[in-house]
Symmetry: C2
Subunit: 506 residues, 2 copies
């Protein structure tokens, strides 16, 4: 990925060096002498199209009539609160009280905060040594919060969870990096990843110098995950001398939105067990399920229900406060639960966590809250439930409306979003559009996405950022714009698509 | 570093595998098949001694009479609030209001929060798109907060600072990792680091597969940094085929506590300029200066005052909310300011930041607050100043008392803490103690630290965790225990040391 930074300072910098950093003093660091793994890494979710969007936004700010739309709609990233979703009140009450415990006992506080938020904040502060929310915690996170999270996992799965298996992290991303750092020794180490995949995985594998071993999800069967495909890709990788170390499964899927059936999960567990693969289960969308015929089952629950314990399979489950109905992306809270690793390897994971000291305490607290929200009978329960249900039921409607709209477009087909926050429609682009893209040195999907942005202000991510079957073209679009905006978005999109297809009709 | 995890679950895990992970199914991941760079990395600040301390603390909890002390005193880590330091009220008021903006306009809020904290929170929320503190921000951090930080740097240095040069991070550690990831290609790439050093640097260099090129600080001249030593080590490294890419300077020093003189900083800048080295300036203790004859000067200010601009030197300054008088370690806020990098390299740094989306918003807000605290005339100014001055003046007294105490011990000499949060006394251990350590397969400094912990409950970090001239022994001890506890700590320490020296007298 080469990003174009629009910045006068950089331009003057360029100019003072004759437009190339290579003309700097020969012993200076240059693009040719940095770590090539960094160059190799790509991250389209914040890539070229988003940088163009930021530029257009700046132009709109300076001149509201500069474009045929009056705002940029960021559908490139699962960032609900950036599009107007409100935080869950109870969670924010507790966070505010933990940030400023001095007001806990004040009379006015009772008028501003719910009684159970005051109680919860007191309980949490009681679990923190010295009530110090400003202190580094244990490298894995505050023990009391890990107890709460473990209890939440137990309640969810019906199988025991151990607080010593929990590592609290600043969102799920650092946890994924930690596991990649642990597992990857060289280019000869492979990680099986779905294609399409969330590009954190490809980026992290590239940065740690490993090899992404792709397995393709089957678009025709609703992004089905076939064991035969896993097996084929594993064998192919082995025949190339790749030692495959782990399998990444994203469930519910990102960008694909499918929810795995329990039987399919069992097959995956058996496959990992038999092949000695670490199962890296991205389960951050576990609360985002939109269809009545599918349910979320954690891989740990599935493995335990098959009778498999610690010694049978190495399993990591990633969870985040950024997703679910809460969507608290800016809080950077999350955790991984690791099971089936020997004590000497756990020591190494602990050491990796220790090098960064600990994750942020607000994020830690929030992770404990989402795994233990208000219960029936708590003062906040009704308002909490109402907020949660309103968000989730609206997401269902938005997913359906957008899916229907995509499917009504010429040459577009779109699987339903059973979960997560995205649709990943496929576009059969006319040859003339593919040629036009080629002429400007662009991928056809990026060409389409750029045209869409320039015409409508809607930001989506080209399918190439996630991987797709060669010769097919997709884009990822979140279902997150506020519900009352969806009809307008659909008409902008429909109008654009029609004009695009007309322009490039063969 | 091999850590011993004390955990019944792990023990049963051990047992079920016959005490070794090697007996797991042959295709399982084992300690012999993980990334050797992870094995190589060490991080003593949270190492063996701390794990022993946690065990003793657990024992004390179960039986208060199990040890000859009634509490563990964590002097291993610069974590002020864990030892009772209170947060700055104004900062926490603003954080609480930003966490729960719904109360901003409530009448009761005016009774609970200072007027300027309400105003500041409103201003900050106004700078955040959609007032969404729960949204991912720009990968570098919220633009308005970066503006504030840049203005704070300008006010500090008297030279311009550009918000586009600021990358907000979850504490300084991830920023250091990002730069190491960028600069290190292989074992043949070297980073000049002070010895003794803060082990984040050695750990990060090991994890990224580079070579730490040591330069020794001169204990005899108060941990002086000699350019001749830098030059010698650089030449030695070059002669071994190492391409040295950067120089790490920690100012004020960690673990050594010295504050560099401006002239010395000028020499360092010239050295980096001449050799084409990136200057990685760890300036997280910039507000922790305890002696009237020393002042903090940022390396950027020094370089600019020498007339050096963007094209002369590549410079990174790390700052953190964990240190200073605020000591907000748990908030994981910080930033790096990067100057003198070509646009194409900046793109790569932006990409690395993007892969983790953004740092936590509370930490971002706090970073803006510490760089723009209340000013004369603001309602909170007096209480803010009083809190700040009380903390800093107490740290001065504590540093002096502990330094004096260490220097009064037989065989111990200790440079003064001019800044930072640590003392790094040198112990001339009797030969018999060195032999005794050897007999139990321990380094002499670790042996001393373990004995100290077992006798007094005081946790310090052996000098070997930071590096020291071979044949010399040190430990790092924070100056952070609350002031009223210092006399008792000194007597415990003095008594222990006397007994230790008596026991091992030759």
């Amino acid at each position: 990925m080469r990003l174009i930074l629009q910045n006068t300072k950089n331009m003057s910098f360029f100019m003072s060096f004759g437009l190339s950093s290579n003309s700097m003093a020969s012993n200076h660091i240059t693009i040719d002498t940095i770590n090539p793994k960094v160059l190799e890494c790509e991250y389209a979710v914040r890539g070229e199209i988003v940088i163009l969007a930021q530029k257009l936004q700046e132009e709109l700010k300076n001149n509201p009539n500069s474009h045929p739309f009056d705002e940029i709609l960021y559908c490139n990233i699962g960032n609900p609160q950036s599009l107007g979703q409100q935080p869950i009140t109870f969670f924010r009450e507790v966070l505010a009280l933990c940030a400023y415990p001095a007001i806990l006992d004040k009379a006015e506080t009772k008028n501003l905060f719910s009684p159970d938020s005051i109680k919860r904040a007191s309980d949490i502060l009681g679990q923190i040594p010295g009530r110090a929310t400003g202190a580094y915690s244990h490298s894995q996170g505050i023990k009391g919060l890990r107890d709460t999270i473990a209890a939440g996992i137990e309640a969810r799965d019906g199988f025991p969870a151990d607080p010593n298996d929990i590592f609290l992290t600043d969102g799920a991303s650092p946890a994924v990096h930690m596991m990649m750092q642990l597992l990857i020794r060289s280019k000869n180490d492979g990680i099986l990843c779905p294609i399409p995949q969330y590009p954190l995985y490809s980026a992290s594998i590239a940065l740690h110098g490993g090899t992404l071993v792709p397995y393709y999800l089957d678009e025709a069967t609703g992004w089905g995950l076939e064991i035969s495909e896993l097996r084929n890709q594993l064998e192919t990788a082995k025949s190339k001398g790749i030692s495959v170390r782990a399998l990444v499964v994203i469930n519910p899927g990102n960008p694909t939105g499918q929810v795995l059936a329990k039987n399919n999960q069992k097959e995956i567990v058996d496959f990992c067990k038999k092949e000695g693969l670490v199962l890296l289960a991205d389960e951050v969308y576990q609360e985002n399920i939109y269809v009545p015929d599918k349910k979320f089952h954690s891989f740990k629950k599935v493995a335990r229900s098959m009778g498999y314990g610690e010694k049978d399979i190495s399993l990591v489950s990633f969870q985040s406060v950024s997703k679910g109905y809460y969507g608290e992306c800016g809080k950077r809270g999350g955790y991984m639960e690791i099971t089936g690793f020997s004590p000497d390897i756990r020591e190494q994971i602990y050491k990796l966590a220790s090098v960064n000291l600990c994750s942020n305490i607000s994020g830690q607290i929030l992770a404990s809250l989402v795994m233990n929200p208000p219960k029936v009978g708590d003062e906040s329960y009704e308002s909490y439930s109402a907020e949660k249900d309103a968000i989730l039921s609206s997401l269902v409607r938005r997913a359906q409306q957008l899916e229907k709209a995509f499917n009504s477009l010429e040459g577009v087909s779109c699987n339903r979003a059973e979960g997560a926050m995205y649709l990943f429609p496929r576009i059969d682009l006319p040859n003339k559009a593919i040629e036009a893209a080629k002429a400007v040195n662009s991928g056809p999907d990026a060409f389409y996405a750029r045209r869409l942005l320039n015409a409508t202000g809607i930001v989506v991510v080209p399918g190439s950022g996630f991987g797709q079957v060669p010769g097919t073209w997709h884009f990822r679009c979140t279902i997150l714009p506020q519900e009352d905006r969806i009809p307008a978005i659909i008409s902008r999109l429909t109008e654009f698509h029609k004009e695009f297809m007309d322009e490039f009709a063969c």
